[in-house]
Structures are given as structure tokens and as C-alpha cells.
């Protein structure tokens, strides 16, 4: 039914071991016991058919071994990350700058070779790195600089807001702090490591040869670092579904491989020399790009292709992408949970599993040119397989993505090859940089101008999530591909059954059936919020001023384009900061503040209502107990939302929602249930469980993970 592809099954076992280790810890090993009856059934069947079962059992043992190694390697990685102690105090820190990023009004430094001196005078030398947010003019800080200072150190946990903290674990960053540049001492350190030196050289020649906008796009395409791009420009690329050009992957590696291989072949370099030279060059390029999972995946696939071509073996693309995934996961099993890795593998696997089959079907359409059919099948199959990941991680998928990818990617591939070649020449001869890069940068400007002028944020598919139903989606894709050899009737029956199951799961996942009112509680590093929905009314309660990108993602995921009522439970200055952030993302019917609060209403585009006494959020009665404390009667349930400590007399409540626990607050309102945003031992928190949904009906508040 499915052709035997050993590397595919091995890679699958390894990944399954990692996933189950994440989900159930050491209990993952008990899953192997489930294979015993399967093994027994295989032995009996093979004995009856008088065939040897040794080979099958041996391969099954190999799969089990990979499963166990996957599970164990994940556990070891997480334990190593958590081995460095938890810190939440002011420390004197010293570290070497290994990465620099830019964000709004601050620079983000990554410090390694850390030395921390705690308040008690204890000196720690953790293996982990630290992220330092620096405010002020910090242009003198370079990679390799030694930075010293003192600040409040906070610790990243392995699990935060219900998700594995993959970026912190993968980058080895355990701590974070912030400081003003005046409070830091900066000295020159070691010479740059070679990869950083090459990146710096590329950056210097590009930014000195053309305007910063074009240079930042070219730099992002070359090395996969979009940190220098304008945030709005980058977001527009994301809305258009074409931001993957800034993740060095098959497109980039393929172009360089094509150029190098073609050049060496033309120079009649022997195959046994050509292969290692091309491999070394691609490996070096991956190093310059920071060995991102997408670049490593593309490198491995390219290497497998070269070896198969040189050795005369048939090249199987599914085994190739499986081998690439196995290599990346063996380097670090946490990559399984990285969005970049998931998208990279899903797109490549989608093209392999579905693209060829779709291409052959489209080729039968007489009026479609063959190259167009091929391009359409590749773009469509990549879209299909990345769809659930994009929806669940970013909250949206561009409705224009397929068209833009068809039109834009071929053009940008050609421009990329010119940018790559001439940037290398310019890096060797910087004095000629402006001349060498004039034409490539001009072509890049022409290619990206339509993207930068259009607003792709208007045509987004959003407002739902896949969750576990994504497995059914991928099973359906696999079943309808030509990788499963079934006759037409079983295939159609199976596909129909999967479609029905997928539909049912999606409805159950996204619709609170039987509930006329639902509240959701959300938090992340960028903000804390509660959304109350009753019939058509949507009320938003913010606990502090949110990060704009966090709020935008939240609204996309929740399908919110308008808010009937906005309340910000925070000091007046933060309320003033929060309102424009919300107005940027959605229409707001009215903002409610407590009468007598020190809030300056300077807003012309939204009605600000000062209330004294009960008011209504749609059909839900509410009352400010204090500036940042709100009582809400949600279908008969007394809910208290506390943005900060208060001395006000509070009613007894069924549910308390607050940033953190305090004895005084719990005594004041005697809650039956509590939800906190920050990590709270022994209590339900959004930090531990992720976003929560509260379904209120018939005397019960059902609290479930969203």
C-alpha cells in the first residue's frame, strides 16, 4: 500500500519519540509495549505464509531504537536548559555580545560566556546565554564586545504560556534583562567569529551601496536575518504569504547549488572534486545563515541529491526530506516544535507528496502551459501543507498567497542570484560595491515595490485554529497523494471519512456549541487580556498596555475586527498608551473608564465614557470597584477582574482573574475559582496552561484550554 521507505519511517519514529516525550515524559517508553501485540501478529502471519519475519522484526527494533533515542535526547536537552538556576533578582552581569538585533527604540543583545554575581555575592557561570534589551544610543556595541552592568535578571522557563519556549531553548537563552546604555560598561572583546565576520561584511557593503530599505531586504534574503527591515514592510510580506523568501531554504540553496554546480561542470572539474567543493561552499553558507533549520534541511536534501547522482542511485525525494528532518532533529530535538522547522519540512514534504501528482493532473489540461502547471502544483501543494501550521502559529493565512507566490517567487529567485553573486564580489572589492550592486539592487527595488505599495492585510483567512485536527488534515493529504497505492473506491471512501472527521473536529475545536456566552483569557510575553463574548457583543478587557504585534496576532486568531467595549485595567498613563494600540488593530465602539480617575481623554476617534455605578458591556452588567478592578456579572457568575492591588471593598466572587496571586486579594473576595496570568504554584495560570476558554452555563463555568 505504501512503498517501503526506511528513512521516512525512521525519521517518523524519531520525531514521534520526541513528541511523546514532550507530552507524557518518561511514560512515552510505555508506548513501546503497544508494539508487542503487533509484533506477535506479524510473526504469526509470516509463519502462516511461510515467510521469514526476521527482517521485519529487525527493522521494527531499529524503529523502536530511534523512537527511544528521540525521546531520550529531548529529555536531555530540556533538562540541560533547566539545569541553570532560576534567577529573579538584581545581579551584576558580564558577557560577550554574540548577536545584535534591533527593535523599536531599543537594541537586543545576546550575551554569552556569562558571569553573574547575585545580591548575596555568589558568582554564577551558567552555560546559557542572556538577552539584554538596551535603551539609548548603543551604536558602539558590536559583536565580540564585552558588556558589564547591573540589572534585574528574569529567567525563561522551558514551558511558558502553555507552549514550549522553543526560541529560548534553541538559542540557549535562559535569562533576560534590560538596561540603559549609560548604565553599561562596554569594552572591545575578541575578533569576530568567521561566520559573524562574513555577515557583518555583507551588511556593510549592502548598507553602504544602496538605501537602507533596499539593503535591509537584500540582507534578509541573503542571510535570513530580517531584523534590519522595517516592521511594517516585513509584516506586509507576511500578510502576502511571501515572507519565506527571508528564510534561507531550498530556494536559496537551490540557486547557489545551481550556480556552483554549473560553473564547476563547465570548468570540467571531476565529480569526486565537484561534490565536496559544492558541499563545503553550501555548508559555509549555512554557517553564515546561522545554521537555521530551513537552511540545514535544504543542505541535506541537496547533499543527498548530489550523492545519489554521483553514486548512480535513484533519488527518492521523500527519503531525502526525511533524512534532512532526521539530521536537524538529531542536532537538536527541540526543533520539532520550532515553527520555522515545521514550515520548512511541511512545504518540502507537501511539494514531494502532492506536487508531482497534482502537476501530472494539471498537465492533462490542454490549455495550461506545462511550466505553469508545474509552478502551480508546487505552489499549491506547499500552501496546502503549511496551511494548518500558519493558522495555528500566526492566526492567519493570506488569501492572495498562492497568486503572489506564483508571480513573485520566480522573479525574486532571479534577483536573488544576482544579489548573491554581486554581494560576494562587492565584499571582496568593497570600493566597487556601489557600482557592482547598482543593477541588482535596482532590480530588487522594482521587484518588491508592488509588494511594499499594496496592503495585503485586507485579505486574510483567520479566526479559527486546527489544534489536533491538523493530524487529520495531513492524513487526508497523504491519502489523496500518489504515495498511497489504493484502488479508487477505497481511496474515495477513506478520503470522505477523513473529510467528515476533520469537519467535526474543526467545529468542536472552534465553536462553543450550546453556549450563548463565552469568555477567553489570553496572555503572552506581549500582553494579558480577557475577551467577553455574548451573542454579538465583544468586550475586551486589557490588563496593562499590550505589545502591538501580540494584540494583532490575538485579534487575528480570535477573528476580531471590532470591539464593542474596551476597558484597560491599568494606571491612567498605561490606559492612554493602550487605546491607540487597540485602535490600530480594530474598531472600538467605546472605552469605559472609572469616573474621577486621572485619565486625560485626548481621543477624537473613539468615545470615552466615564462611569460611576453599574454600566453594561452589551447585555453584561459591570462595575468599576477601583481604577483597575472590574466586577462583571456574566450570565449570573460573579467575576472579578483585578489589574492591580486595591484597598477597595470587594464582593465575593465565583471567579477571580488577576495577574498574580496575593493573600490580601484572595481574602477580600473569597473566590470559588482563580485564574492568574503569571506562574502561580498550585493555582491555574495562563502561564502554565496557555490561553483558556470559560464556558458559562447552568451554574457551571467550564474552564478548558483554548
Amino acid at each position: 500500500m505504501i512503498n517501503f521507505r526506511p528513512v521516512f519511517f525512521v525519521s517518523l519514529s524519531f520525531g514521534l519519540g520526541i513528541f511523546l516525550s514532550f507530552a507524557v515524559g518518561f511514560h512515552a517508553y510505555w508506548a513501546l509495549l503497544a508494539l508487542l501485540p503487533v509484533a506477535a501478529a506479524v510473526i504469526i502471519y509470516r509463519l502462516k505464509t511461510k515467510k521469514s519475519s526476521l527482517g521485519v522484526l529487525l527493522f521494527a527494533a531499529v524503529l523502536c531504537a530511534f523512537y527511544c533515542v528521540g525521546a531520550f535526547s529531548f529529555t536531555v536537552r530540556i533538562s540541560a536548559f533547566e539545569n541553570d538556576p532560576v534567577l529573579a533578582e538584581s545581579c551584576v552581569f558580564t558577557g560577550e555580545v554574540t548577536e545584535i538585533g534591533d527593535a523599536d527604540y531599543r537594541r537586543i543583545l545576546t550575551l554569552s560566556d556569562l558571569e553573574l554575581v547575585t545580591e548575596e555575592g555568589k558568582t554564577l557561570r551558567p552555560n546559557s546565554k542572556m538577552t539584554l534589551y538596551v535603551y539609548g544610543d548603543s551604536k558602539d556595541i558590536r559583536i565580540g564586545s564585552i558588556v558589564r552592568g547591573q540589572s534585574e535578571i528574569q529567567t525563561y522557563d522551558a514551558i511558558a504560556y502553555g507552549r514550549l519556549n522553543t526560541s529560548a531553548i534553541l538559542s540557549g537563552v535562559r535569562y533576560r534583562a534590560s538596561a540603559d546604555i549609560e548604565d553599561l560598561s562596554v569594552t572591545e572583546g575578541h575578533a569576530l567569529p568567521v561566520f559573524s565576520a562574513v555577515r557583518s561584511r555583507f551588511r556593510e557593503v549592502l548598507f553602504s551601496s544602496t538605501d537602507s530599505g533596499t539593503a535591509s531586504i537584500a540582507y534578509a534574503m541573503l542571510v535570513g536575518d530580517s531584523g534590519y527591515m522595517d516592521g511594517d514592510v516585513l509584516q506586509n510580506f507576511r500578510y502576502g504569504g511571501i515572507a519565506h523568501i527571508f528564510a534561507v531554504s531550498g530556494l536559496h540553496i537551490g540557486v547557489i547549488y545551481g550556480l556552483l554546480y554549473g560553473l564547476l561542470r563547465r570548468l570540467q572539474v571531476k565529480g569526486y572534486v565537484r561534490l565536496p567543493v559544492v558541499f563545503a561552499a553550501l555548508l559555509f553558507y549555512c554557517g553564515v545563515c546561522g545554521f537555521s533549520p530551513s537552511s540545514v534541511r535544504a543542505l541535506v536534501m541537496c547533499t543527498v541529491l548530489m550523492i545519489a547522482d554521483a553514486a548512480g542511485y535513484a533519488y527518492d525525494r521523500l527519503n531525502s526530506v526525511s533524512a534532512a528532518s532526521l539530521v536537524v532533529l538529531a542536532i537538536n530535538p527541540v526543533y520539532l516544535f520550532s515553527v520555522g522547522f515545521q514550515l520548512s519540512v511541511a512545504a518540502a514534504a507537501g511539494i514531494i507528496v502532492l506536487g508531482g501528482h497534482l502537476g501530472r493532473l494539471l498537465a492533462r489540461v490542454k490549455f495550461l502551459p506545462r511550466k505553469f502547471s508545474s509552478a502551480l502544483s508546487v505552489a499549491f501543494s506547499a500552501q496546502v501543507c503549511t496551511f494548518p501550521i500558519l493558522i495555528d502559529c500566526f492566526g492567519y493565512v493570506s488569501a492572495l498567497s498562492l497568486v503572489l507566490n506564483l508571480l513573485f517567487i520566480p522573479v525574486i529567485s532571479a534577483v536573488y542570484s544576482l544579489i548573491f553573486l554581486f554581494t560576494i564580489f562587492a565584499a571582496i572589492v568593497p570600493a566597487a560595491g556601489t557600482v557592482l550592486l547598482y543593477v541588482p539592487c535596482l532590480l530588487l527595488q522594482v521587484a518588491v515595490t508592488p509588494v511594499m505599495m499594496a496592503d495585503f492585510g485586507v485579505l486574510l483567512i483567520s479566526g479559527f485554529t486546527f489544534g489536533g485536527a491538523a493530524v487529520l488534515w495531513y492524513l487526508l493529504v497523504f491519502l489523496i497523494s500518489d504515495k498511497v497505492n489504493l484502488k479508487i473506491i477505497p481511496k474515495v471512501t477513506g478520503s470522505t471519512a477523513l473529510c467528515i472527521a476533520l469537519t467535526v473536529c474543526m467545529v468542536l475545536q472552534n465553536a462553543a456549541i450550546g453556549y450563548s456566552a463565552v469568555a477567553t483569557v489570553h496572555a503572552d510575553y506581549g500582553g494579558e487580556a480577557m475577551i467577553l463574548r455574548r451573542e454579538e457583543d465583544v468586550s475586551l478587557v486589557l490588563f496593562g498596555s499590550p505589545d502591538p504585534s501580540y494584540l494583532e496576532r490575538l485579534f487575528l486568531r480570535e477573528g476580531i475586527s471590532a470591539v464593542d467595549a474596551l476597558i484597560v485595567l491599568a494606571p491612567p498613563r498605561e490606559v492612554n498608551t493602550a487605546i491607540p494600540v487597540v485602535l490600530e488593530c480594530a474598531e472600538v465602539g467605546a472605552v469605559y473608564v472609572r469616573e474621577g480617575t486621572e485619565f486625560e481623554d485626548t481621543f477624537q476617534t473613539v468615545e470615552v465614557i466615564e462611569t460611576d455605578g453599574f454600566f453594561y458591556l452589551g447585555a453584561t452588567p459591570a462595575l468599576f470597584m477601583d481604577d483597575a478592578v472590574l466586577y462583571v456579572n456574566f450570565l449570573g457568575a460573579d467575576i472579578l477582574l483585578c489589574g492591580e492591588e486595591t484597598q477597595a471593598r470587594l464582593p465575593r466572587c465565583d471567579l477571580l482573574v488577576a495577574p498574580s496571586w496575593s493573600q490580601a486579594l484572595a481574602d477580600a473576595c473569597s473566590p470559588s475559582g482563580e485564574i492568574y496570568f503569571e506562574k502561580t504554584e498550585g493555582k491555574l495560570s495562563v502561564y502554565s496552561a496557555g490561553d483558556l476558554q470559560l464556558r458559562v452555563k447552568n451554574g457551571i463555568i467550564d474552564v478548558v484550554a483554548e
Partner: protein, 113 residues
Amino acid sequence: MKVIYRISIFLLCAVALIAAAAVLPFLAPPLRGEGMVYGVNEQIGYDGTIAVVVRGESVRRPGTYRVPYDSTYADIFALAGAKTMPPDLDPDAPIGFSDAVLVGDIFYIYLVL
């Protein structure tokens, strides 16, 4: 069959290499045994009633009543035996919170006829 044996031996060697690469640098720290998925399925019970105080000369049974949240003015006045309905109140409307007062730690809705 020989192909399967060769592939299996090759893969077993690969397993050993991966295991060595994954495990050897990190033998020191204590290993985390529990899973990292935090399941949530809590239920919080609530009363679902509101406290309404009905007073006035035209009320036969003045006092404090606990009624379901979505009760209407007609419901409460029927319970309290109100002889007349105030003209400014819609009898079919849900009892509003505009007259609610916090007494102790409970909100009471005062209706004085």
C-alpha cells in the same frame, strides 16, 4: 532480504551515533521525567442567582429574594406581591443592576415601590 539487513545494520549504527551525540555532553543534569503538556479541564460552580430587596407600601411581601439571574421585573413583583407596577419599568425586562448596592460582600438590587 540482504538489503533489509544492510539497511538495518546501517541504521543501528546511526542510532548509536545519534545517541552519543545527544546524550554525552549532557550527562550531568537530573533528567525531567514528567510530560510538559498541561491539561486543563476545571469546573467552577456558581450560584447564578441575584439578591433583590423589594420594599414599599404597595408590596404585600416585602423582603430579600434570591432569584435566577435572568428573572424579569414581572417575576420579582409577582413573588413580592406588588399591587402595582411602576410605570417606568418594563415588566418583561430582566432585572437591571443600576440599583445594585454592595452590602457586606454581596450585591443587593434595591427596588422600592
